[in-house]
Amino acid sequence: MSTSMLRNSIALRTALRAATPTATRAAAFSTTPTRALATLPDLPYDYGALEPAISGHIMELHHSKHHQTYVTNYNAAQSKLQDALSSGDIATAIATQPAINFNGGGNLNHTLFWENLAPKNQGGGEPPSGPLAKSIESHYGTFEKMKEQFNAALAGIQGSGWAWLVQDNETGALGIRTYANQDPVVGKFHPLLGIDAWEHAYYLQYENRKAEYFKNIWGVVNWKAAEKRMK
């Protein structure tokens, strides 16, 4: 994760801020485990910059409230987990897993999301080029067909979740996958481009008209970020 983020020069500063441990000690001489506290990354654009696709009000709430809460709660959960691991409290360590998954996933997903959106004057909405464009064509026929499948996946999400264009870590093949709640893209696949389908991502502007949101957001998708995530 940190390697692919370092390759993204636009997000370099914010990525470093998010990943840098704020407290490190020589492990050999300290009983305090090192903790890399998550921090809320800055957006590379103003809250209002993605209008009219996504309102500034939503962007502000989404970033400063929802994402911030994932960061805060992830730090609390990982602190609890580290204490449990240090003291050998296996039951508590296991019981903390859902909170780690949910809040850590929420932090990862939203960090990637802000990066793969951009205002039009920063390339938002411009179709992909280079290897990613070729790969999309070979997997889906055309860019438009890929978007159709992506939107169908988004529409099919029940409850809260995300849809991602992913790449298979072994074969390099592209895929479109949906993940429930804040489950992150880990394991067999790594994420290229994600769209948040949680109601908080669109409700104040689109209410229940999520198909409209899914249609409009393509106008601010930052394909350059997705290209940089390709392996």
Partner: protein, 261 residues
């Protein structure tokens, strides 16, 4: 405490006939032994609210109530009808459809879980709310049951609030009556209903809903934004404890005559 040997389906049919909930069209399964009944255009219908959209203000805002009822719930009804058109299961009352979930053909389970669950849960929810909320009466069977189970009514409220807050993503918090007569605070994901049984909602969450709270973001976002706890607190101001008490008595298998007003 002892219970007659009641099946959940019988209890629900009794509850529905007493309380007047369920779809307007009733067809008994198997009553037509000749060719299958022609598909009905609408087997399930959106139930009207017993109050206006603004009646629950300032706790639940009118705009949310209107969109929640006319858009979200209506969509579940529409999609359920589309999925079960011509299928014999569509003649079941919605709560019966939930309890018969495991009998559904495999290719219908997902859509009924989502759309049927949505219709069942929201139909219940509207009845669970009232603009004229009164406190649950001291000494009443449900209050006694809650106090016996949770040691105090406040402790029950705290347990319910904690459950409702802790749902990751979309879902519901419930007070249910299990088939062994136990009151329990549980949560379900998405539109899963406790009526669907353990194979769907997991061990311990299956049962007969007494009261419940929708914690999908669409239920509170316009008014409460990301602050779900404030929405949960507001819920206590609009809980229809009379309805919850009736549900409890139906579930327990006996009916107490309501006090004359």
């Amino acid at each position: 405490m002892h219970f007659a040997n009641l099946t959940l389906g019988w209890m629900l049919s009794l509850a529905q006939s007493r309380l007047g909930v369920g779809p307007l069209v009733h067809n008994k399964l198997g009553s037509d032994t000749s060719s299958p009944a022609p598909p009905t255009a609408t087997s399930y219908t959106l139930p009207p609210l017993d109050y206006s959209y603004e009646a629950l203000e300032p706790h639940f805002d009118a705009e949310t109530m209107r969109i929640h009822h006319t858009k979200h719930h209506q969509t579940y009804v529409t999609n359920l009808n589309a999925a079960l058109q011509g299928n014999e299961f569509s003649s079941l009352d919605i709560d019966e459809l939930m309890t018969r979930f495991n009998d559904l053909p495999a290719d219908k389970k997902t859509v009924v879980r989502n759309q049927g669950g949505g219709h069942a849960n929201h139909s219940f929810f509207w009845k669970n709310l009232t603009p004229n909320a009164t406190a649950l009466a001291d000494g009443s069977p449900l209050k006694t049951g809650i106090e016996d189970t949770f040691s105090s009514f406040v402790a029950f409220q705290q347990a319910f609030e904690k459950a409702a807050t802790s749902v990751f993503g979309s879902g519901w918090a419930w007070l249910i009556l299990t088939d062994t007569g136990e009151l329990r605070v549980v949560t379900t994901a998405n539109q899963d209903s406790p009526l669907m049984g353990e194979s769907v909602v997991g061990a311990g969450a299956a049962g007969f809903p007494i009261m419940g709270l929708d914690v999908w973001e669409h239920a509170y976002y316009l008014q409460y934004r990301n602050v779900r706890p404030d929405y949960i607190k507001a819920y206590w101001q609009v809980v229809n404890w009379e309805f919850a008490s009736e549900r409890y008595m139906e579930g327990r298998g006996s009916m107490v005559q309501p006090e004359p007003l």
